[in-house]
Symmetry: C2
Subunit: 105 residues, 2 copies
């Protein structure tokens, strides 16, 4: 029997709230994660923590906040989780936001 896929919750695009998103990315670690992911390559939590230099537990925490705010998307593949920036929805609802996050200091 295949292992049931645990649903990973993402807010609907219609629920995205700019203030929530700004508050969530208004943290130097989470901003670094978004900047890293802005090349639109999928990365696992392990890859992100290695590239940025974070403890594993901290990384999962920040990734959960980013996903719940609608900034990132997590795709399950077996036990692995692949994370990307949710660029399509962000660009549609808040055009230019990702660029500002990437280009700002």
């Amino acid at each position: 029997m295949p292992t049931p896929v645990r649903e990973i919750h993402h807010p609907a695009a219609s629920e995205l709230d700019l203030a929530t998103i700004l508050r969530t990315v208004g943290d130097s670690v989470r901003l670094s994660i978004v900047r890293l992911l802005a090349d639109d390559r999928e990365r696992t939590c392990t890859q992100i923590q290695e590239e940025i230099g974070l403890p594993t537990s901290t990384c999962s925490y920040h990734l959960r906040l980013l996903r719940e705010a609608g900034v990132t998307r997590t795709r399950a593949e077996g036990t692995e989780r692949h994370i990307t920036v949710r660029r399509d929805d962000l660009e549609e609802h808040f055009p230019g936001l990702v660029d500002v996050l990437v280009s700002g200091r």
Copy 2:
């Protein structure tokens, strides 16, 4: 003898930090204030609270946070304080940020 002008502190443009700015505007009231001020007209605290519908004390608090984060500029004229968006510095350091704040939902 003229009343000494009390210095109103603003962070230097070189000190502006994107994460701090995002965290500060990531609040529905402060986001509303920035959107109101985005027409680049100066407003007093009283005008802002009337246009948005806030209690006076709350308004001063939010305006202080916005000024300390470098989002707004406060100009003293007698006992009055005139507030504007700090558009020149924001645009120079974080191009497109003010537009994103105004156009997003």
